[in-house]
């Protein structure tokens, strides 16, 4: 009896406030963008967020941001919540791109367009803005090849530390690197997935590579933090293996300045975030985007070019 009473109590309050809340809603004419973000822990995502936020500010859109806290189920609940708030458009940088399908379907059923800002997509999204990852991997190998020739390194042994396979778009970085390596006559002696996807994971994985192939000449780690970890492992082992990373984060910039990392493929997270909102603006104006993949250029960073790059990034983030 007591239990039933308590359940009824909760339901009564919920019902009451549901009616109270509903009465106050007027028709919203202003545009609201809901942005669901993997996490704010890393500079890459902070840049994506700033891009989305700045674009909304410029266009006069209302901006709502929910942090997924790196939790896939929270991500889905947040998406449903945004749909419930009747936002005009959704931008999402998903922690688990494979898990957004049903939620995106709900959004599209509610006539809310969805643009994925990086990572990947499942379900009927309107567009995905993603770096040209395959090209990035190829650029990494081409740069390594150039460095080997400059330094007179004869060894043809290279290795790759991949991202986790569920990130199908980021996985193309490793694919591009391996394909270009074979094309240029190199032998990929170590092809591993960096586990866990952290700096420590990069360190561990690099150590494994060195144990198996002590004379490995160059490695490509497809994610920034992992590459810096690998660079530290090489330094600790007293080797001179060349490391190229991916992302363009401050840690990699520092590693290049410290001389432990040879190069880095930089993405444009601010631009990805910013353009995602611009795509939504086009969709609101009537342009059709359906399951579109919009590739974003990546750039090669070398120890000479990092300072300029850092200045540009700082300027964007201070805006």
């Amino acid at each position: 009896m007591k239990k039933i009473l308590s359940i009824l109590l909760v339901l009564a309050v919920m019902a009451g406030t549901a009616f109270a809340g509903g009465a106050g809603e007027g028709a919203k004419k202003e545009v609201t963008i809901g942005f669901s973000l993997w996490t704010m822990k890393y500079t890459f995502f902070q840049a994506v967020e700033k891009g989305v936020r700045d674009a909304c500010k410029e266009l006069g859109y209302k901006y709502i941001m929910i942090d997924q806290n790196e939790d896939a189920t929270k991500m889905v609940n947040d998406l449903n919540s945004l749909v419930g708030q009747k936002v005009t458009g959704i931008v999402i940088t998903p922690v688990d791109p494979g898990a957004i399908g049903p939620a995106v379907q709900k959004a599209r059923d509610a006539k809310i367009p969805v643009v994925c800002a990086d990572i990947g997509k499942t379900g009927p999204v309107n567009a995905l803005m993603i770096s040209n990852n395959k090209k990035g991997g190829e650029m990494a190998m081409e740069y390594m090849d150039k460095l080997f020739k400059e330094k007179g390194i004869e060894s043809k042994k290279v290795g790759v530390g991949r991202v986790q396979p569920q990130y199908t778009y980021a996985s193309q970085r490793g694919d591009g690197f391996v394909a270009k390596a074979k094309e240029l006559g190199y032998s990929v002696v170590s092809d591993l997935v960096t586990q866990p996807p952290t700096a420590e994971g990069g360190y561990d994985t690099m150590q494994q590579m060195l144990s198996a192939n002590p004379d490995i000449a160059g490695v490509f780690f497809a994610s920034g933090r992992e590459a810096v970890g690998a660079a530290n492992a090489i330094k600790a082992a007293g080797k001179s293996t060349l490391v190229v990373g991916y992302n363009g984060d401050p840690e990699e910039i520092q590693a290049m300045k410290d001389g432990i990392m040879a190069g880095d493929i930089a993405q444009q997270p601010y631009y990805i975030g910013y353009q995602s909102v611009m795509i939504l603006k086009d969709i609101f104006a009537g342009k059709t985007y359906e399951d579109a993949v919009v590739p974003v250029d990546v750039a090669l960073l070398t120890p000479d070019t990092v300072d300029d790059f850092q200045k540009k990034v700082d300027a964007l983030m201070k805006k």
Binding site: M40, T73, Q166
Partner: protein, 324 residues
């Protein structure tokens, strides 16, 4: 102690188990509704009710487990393994079969845990700590670390469908909790679980087959984790060997403790676990809607847990009950 104040405290304490959390939820809902009209929308309240089932259903088995004096921290990994196994077989045995395989796999994991604890006499904490790695490793190996997508309409319906306007997860949760409360309060099994958790030796001496009870408890943990996995996988449309169930054990145990079940075993609060999962879901959702930084949400959850355990101790002291 002053007579009037003292009796008021005792009055609240005696009703805390039944009304404490629901009252807190009512207050929470009221406060957040005033702060955010979106929170108060029927859509939001109901969708969060459905969402709370992901942890709530899994907590049912854990309530039995903790009441019997044991722990199971392999539930997250169980979820991953059961999920990938079931999801991968959709093409071969259809949606209904795949769902049954998911529940069965998790239940089998529970049986395995139970065997280690009762036959090999390895403490539950150690057993499930070790099996946690094993189950997830099997999930990784089986799928080569790739996610498995669910497109089957039946399975997807379980998470996002509605019956008479009520989201299916809510209906499933209601049935599960109703059954669990009945088993706990009205069956000899339920009473035996409480007895084993209160005093294992006394229970054994009074004729209860302690090993059987413990085995059944782990089976229940597995079963309900399986059901929760089915609903979660439906929500997400995919199962991921690395991500599914990560941190699940902590969420479930938090909900069980917040709900009023003592970690020392013995009596527990089954419906309390339901209300706790509801409370935490609304708290997280309300803070999120007010754009509160996520780290403060973690602080809030931690404080709520400590506060809840504190309240339980005060309540026990006031009623002269055994210290938690």
């Amino acid at each position: 102690m002053n007579g009037a104040r003292g009796s008021a405290r005792v009055w609240i304490a005696s009703r805390w188990d039944s009304f404490g959390l629901p009252a807190l939820i009512a207050v929470l809902v009221l406060v957040f509704s005033l702060l955010s009209s979106t929170f108060a929308s029927g859509y939001n309240l109901f969708s969060n009710l459905a969402f709370s089932s992901l942890v709530g259903i899994g907590a049912i088995g854990m309530v039995f487990c903790i009441m019997s004096g044991d722990f199971d921290i392999s539930v997250g990994s169980m979820s991953a393994l059961a999920g990938v196994l079931g999801a991968s077989l959709v093409g071969r045995i259809g949606g209904v079969g795949a769902v049954l395989v998911t529940v069965a796999t998790a239940t089998v994991c529970g049986i395995v845990n139970g065997v280690f604890v009762t036959k090999l006499r390895i403490p539950a904490f150690i057993t499930t700590l070790g099996m946690q790695y094993v189950y997830r490793a099997i999930a990784y190996i089986y799928t080569s670390n790739t996610p498995v997508y669910i497109k089957d309409p039946f399975w997807l319906f379980l998470g996002s469908g509605t019956v008479l306007g009520i989201p299916l997860p809510i209906i499933i949760t209601a049935i599960c909790f109703a059954a669990a409360v009945y088993v706990l309060r009205k069956t000899p099994f339920g009473r035996s679980v409480i007895a084993v958790g209160t005093n294992k030796t006394a229970a054994m001496l009074s004729g209860i087959n302690v090993d059987f009870i413990k085995n059944m408890v782990f089976v229940l943990v597995g079963f309900f984790v399986g059901v929760a996995t089915v609903v979660t996988a439906s929500y997400l449309g995919s199962v991921n060997p690395g991500m599914t169930g990560q941190g699940y054990e902590f969420q479930v145990i938090t909900v069980v403790v917040l709900g009023g079940t003592a970690l020392t075993g013995g009596n527990g609060n089954m419906l309390g676990a339901f209300f706790a999962s509801l409370f935490l879901t609304y708290l997280q959702n309300g803070l999120g809607l007010k754009q509160v930084n996520s780290y403060w949400q973690f602080v809030a959850t931690g404080l709520v847990l400590i506060f809840a355990v504190g309240i339980n101790r005060v309540k026990s002291a006031l009623l002269g009950q055994r210290e938690l």
